[in-house]
């Protein structure tokens, strides 16, 4: 292995970790330097999460040594690692939803007076930290529960820099952010880097890695494959290192545009202040993208179409028949057959503690019932079919779904809804936090389903996906659809311009 340059802050030597029979990390050597942004790349299940957990004291390695500035360390808890200056922003948020923003930011070491928490000093501290990352709009008194996901992530970041990190780990920390916030985070990282902080950056978004990182390490199947300076490898080379095989084309080919029967038609949809005069149609066999900045009503539109929102006004037609949905149960009923792959797969998509098999059939149990009882034989064959169709990588169908990697969990969510044989499939950012290989499988699957006649409405925060997958893209701004792009007009420039709602004139 390479000898350690003097700037090394953290070194791992021959680290191995097993969970039961599964090898998570095997003989990993890894080092990261002061004042540098180091990307850690790899598919889900490559061992990145375990690596981070070991560095931040959440799990302890079976073998191997961890040295910090040349001193051997053995962290027994996250707080021990934090005390040593290692701060991790986890993919799963570490915020307490019922506590206020300022409580959360100072949770582990609040400012105190006479032994009691000084609420006023705590609030000032929260204000200062939020200002540091450009989030003055967040009220420190607000409860985290009441904030949208993107704001919560910024609070998480404010909380982490409050620890004065010497090694900051970002695990998919930007995946929930709006593009404006991503810019703020970039600036913050550049400043921390200049101050000599080491930064470990885990992201599935290659353009972020290219823009930010100085060095990168690729992991595959629990092994460290290669570490290189950014620029020494091209993006296709990096992707190939990650998946260990060539990828031909990222997106399946789109069929030529043709007029289609609308499977889903929406007219003048309004809801509270989030949706305004939405009119949209999705043809059978068509993939329509929802684009725009985060939080412009896209998620609410999908929820409205799935019967989750009350007092929605306007018309919704499925296969030419007007429908009224009061609940998701109505939406999936045989007359309507709408499916939604929700925003948060861990709480809304899956019952994590239940088995893969139970999760797969939970939305279509009626099909397997004879009388009041579930026909186990019928159910079992459907489960096998579902697992096979999506190539879900599992040990046994009776394992808890929580044992799967993020990508495979998402496949289970999708397979669950395919069992209801939906006419209309609503997808809420389904590739968030998923590795490159699985993403491509999902793109292929979406096209396959469309070709079989499903109408797909696909919200994504990743413009590349919208461009690569969609026949048409509707851009939302402030609860309205401001522009529909189709065919060759679906370009990054057009999407970005319409998202900011500034370029109506440029098109004409």
């Amino acid at each position: 292995m390479p000898t350690s340059p003097p700037g090394d802050f953290l070194r791992l030597e021959q680290i191995s970790k097993r969970y039961g029979g599964v090898r998570a990390l095997e003989g990993v050597d890894f080092a990261c330097q002061r004042g540098s942004i180091h990307a850690v790349l790899g598919e889900n299940g490559a061992g990145k999460s375990t690596l981070i957990k070991i560095i931040s004291g959440v799990v302890r390695p079976d073998t191997g040594a961890l040295t910090l500035e040349g001193v051997a360390r053995d962290f027994r808890s996250p707080s021990a690692a934090t005390a040593a200056g290692i701060v991790c922003i986890f993919q799963e948020l570490s915020l307490m939803p019922d506590l206020s923003v300022s409580d959360n930011i100072s949770i582990s070491a609040p400012p105190r007076r006479l032994g009691l928490i000084d609420a006023r000093a705590q609030r000032r501290r929260a204000e200062a930290l939020l200002a540091e990352i450009g989030c003055e709009d967040v009220n420190p008194l607000a409860r985290v529960r009441d904030l949208p996901l993107s704001r919560r992530q910024m609070v998480e970041i404010a909380k982490s820099i409050g620890h004065k990190p010497r090694l900051l780990i970002l695990d998919e920390a930007t995946s929930a952010l709006t593009s404006a916030d991503v810019e703020k985070v970039y600036k913050l990282l550049a400043r921390l880097k200049a101050e000599g902080v080491s930064i470990l950056y885990i992201s599935h978004r290659m353009h972020e890695v290219e823009a930010l990182a100085d060095r990168a390490s690729v992991f595959r199947n629990g092994r460290h494959i290669e570490t290189f300076d950014m620029g020494a490898r091209t993006t296709p080379q990096i992707v190939q290192l990650m998946i260990g095989r060539d990828i031909a084309t990222q997106y399946p080919p789109k069929p030529p545009a043709r007029p289609r029967e609308p499977a889903l038609r929406v007219a003048d949809l309004n809801w509270e202040t989030s949706l305004a005069d939405i009119s949209l149609s999705v043809g059978a066999g068509e993939i329509v993208g929802l684009g725009g900045l985060d939080g412009q009503g896209q998620k609410m539109l999908l929820l409205a179409l799935f019967g989750v929102l009350k007092s929605v006004s306007g018309q919704i037609e499925v296969n030419g028949r007007p429908v009224r949905m009061r609940s998701p149960a109505d939406a999936k009923s045989p007359d309507i057959r709408i499916a939604l792959v929700p925003e948060d797969r861990k709480t809304e998509g899956l019952m994590l503690a239940m088995s893969i098999a139970d999760n797969l059939t939970i939305a279509s149990l009626g099909d397997f019932a004879s009388g009041p009882f579930i026909d186990r034989a019928k159910e079992r064959s459907a489960i096998e079919g579902g697992i096979e169709r999506l190539r879900v990588k599992i040990g046994a169908a009776q394992d808890a779904v929580s044992t799967l990697s993020g990508g495979n969990q998402q496949k289970v969510v999708i397979a669950k809804w395919l069992m209801t044989n939906p006419r209309v499939i609503l997808l809420n950012d389904p590739t968030r936090g998923i590795d490159v290989g699985t993403k491509q499988e999902l793109y292929r699957l979406m096209r396959e389903l469309a070709d079989q006649g499903a109408a797909i409405l696909f919200y994504s925060t990743d413009y590349d996906e919208l461009i690569g997958c969609c026949d048409r893209v509707a851009i939302m701004y402030d609860g309205r659809i401001v522009r529909e792009l189709s065919g060759a007009d679906i370009t990054e420039t057009n999407i970005v311009a319409s998202s900011l709602n500034i370029a109506q004139g440029a098109h004409v």
Binding site: S77, I107, S108, L116, L141
Partner: protein, 367 residues
Amino acid sequence: MSDLALRARQNVAFLTAVGLFLVVYLIYHMSHPKGFSSAVLVQNADEVFTLAMVAVAQTVPVLAAGLDLSVGALMTMVGCCASYLLTGTTASMALEIAGYSLPLGSLPAGVPGLVIGMVICLAIGALGGLINGLVVVYGRIQPIIATLATGAIYIGIALFLRPQPGGKIDEDLNWALTNSLGDFASTVHIFSDGAAPWFAPFAGIPTPFVLLALILLIVWVPFRRTVTGRTVYAIGSAEGAAYMSGLNVNRARIAAFTLGGFFAGCGGLFLAIQTSSGNADIPQAGAYTLNSIASVVIGGTSLLGGAGGALGSVFGAMMLRVISFFFRIFDIAPLLQPLFEGVILLAAVSVGSLRVLRVKNTLELFR
């Protein structure tokens, strides 16, 4: 939105409980022949104190997402202890069980002895809570089942101490603590035996009410502002996140149960002083436990933990008690009491969930 409006919106459940209580209590006083008098206030405060204390005891573990089924039992056990320790005499105490006599030594006479006795009672309560916490944390047992077991043990000890209701409480102590501040002052000979002119406006305030406020002010309010107190809320809100933030989750959970035990001890101590005896009454212990949970819910604390507070539970307890006060002024057949109480309790709890009707995004209901 202003900070005040934001805080009001965050505490809407608590404010609803307070508002509802005030309305109902006002109606009660207006319908009562001796309404708005010190005598009625004192009587009400005496009847509310124990339940309010037990409800506060329940609140702390509930905030950390753990139900405590032993609060009623712990209260009873402490009450039985008090009936031995607060006799006010120097006679040496002895446990009389099945003909055997177990000498326990003696306490000094008068006020010092009573103070020491009360401190011992409260310490026994806290110890019971501490045991609950240790069993839950280090036994890794669900709180609801762990406290079901320890609660049975505490009732067992209470029965052992007082197979039959009995014992004795110093009469002056009883008089001083269960009446108005004026009676308190004249019993302990302060403020010119309560006759000082400046004291007159306060003389009518019920002593139990002042005790309740003092206990909350001295124990609960500071606790909420400690790191341990904050951690209790954090555990109920998201235990995983609390642990990952480097908080001492185990210590906070043990502290929550211990503090709960202390408050239950306060309740038991007062009940013994008020009734001048110790009584290992099993149905009563059960009723207090269940009513404490009802008070917590009415007071706006989430049974899932993380949100709410002790003051809400006090109002919840007062609300529950006012319901039964009404039976005295309106002539309702005693046999119908449980039925009416149940219906009114259901209605009171439902008021808190009215806001569900305003939720337009039904997914919010499950978050």
